[in-house]
Point group: C2
DNA sequence: CCTGAAATGAGAAGCATTATCACTAGGGCG
DNA sequence: CGCCCTAGTGATAATGCTTCTCATTTCAGG
């Protein structure tokens, strides 16, 4: 995590910690997870995450229950990916989509751009079900 | 809206009203919209919606902010569809996906089934951006 | 009609998130 | 070097959506 400079946000110790936790995770994290993983106080974590979302560095992933999850925006992360969401416990896992599917999705999005009047920024492809643990337990 | 019988839920006046509002809408509704559209008291609307979600008649759509939205499950509605979500005002609109895309999505989901350990129930394909109104200002 | 289980609805309670505000930190400048 | 001004901080209060509580009502079946 380097930039943040072009934005009008100082790279403080707190923000560095929050970003580090997100960077090291392979899945979106709840605020609670960010707090316990970074040591940043809850109120500051909420504020920092909101600022980072506003700045486009972090994205919010709405799961099932128990609060939204956060991860680095794709341009700051490794790669484009989608989510496997457990409808039981809310756990979210990342997965890579096939290039084929992505191509078709892009085409679909282009078509929508033309017909909907929406200014489209991105798409979300989530697959839902029950995770291994919940199926077992 | 006929069934509900096979489930252990009585088709009461309130539930009928809630379902009617959802049935007549072409997009997912917030609880507030369901309340004002049906005349059902807030607490009952929340309870009924939760029961209907539990029963699989209604699905929750997590938008952007300002509360979850609800719509009839696809088997009780007309057709399979996806959502256009405005990241500004939270408005959600339905749209039909191309059969081509659906086919590829199904294939992708099958692959995930085999590799993830997830018991997959359905997928969500949302397109996000700013709606016509919010773009206009 | 009875009767018990399901449903109701107003208000209380719960909880994640946001706002408040006095205080601290830190970069720039006289 | 120290002053200033702004951004950041963090404990706490406030907000707001959602769920819970519980006394009352409805309703299907006997």
């Amino acid at each position: 995590m380097q930039a943040l400079a072009p934005l009008e946000l100082r790279l403080t110790g707190n923000r560095r910690s929050v970003l580090a936790v997100l960077e090291q995770s392979s899945r979106p994290l709840t605020v609670e997870e960010v707090v316990s993983g970074s040591g940043v106080p809850t109120s500051t974590a909420y504020r920092n995450l909101a600022e980072l979302v506003e700045a486009g560095v972090v994205v919010r992933v709405s799961g099932v229950g128990g609060g939204d999850r956060h991860e680095l925006a794709e341009q700051f992360s490794q790669h484009h990916h989608h989510h496997l969401v457990c409808t039981d416990c809310g756990m979210v896992t990342d997965f890579d989509p096939s290039p084929q599917l992505e191509k078709l999705i892009d085409r679909e999005v282009d078509a929508l751009l033309a017909t909907s009047g929406f200014e489209i920024t991105h798409h979300v492809f989530d697959v839902r079900g029950r995770c291994r643990d919940c199926v077992a337990g």
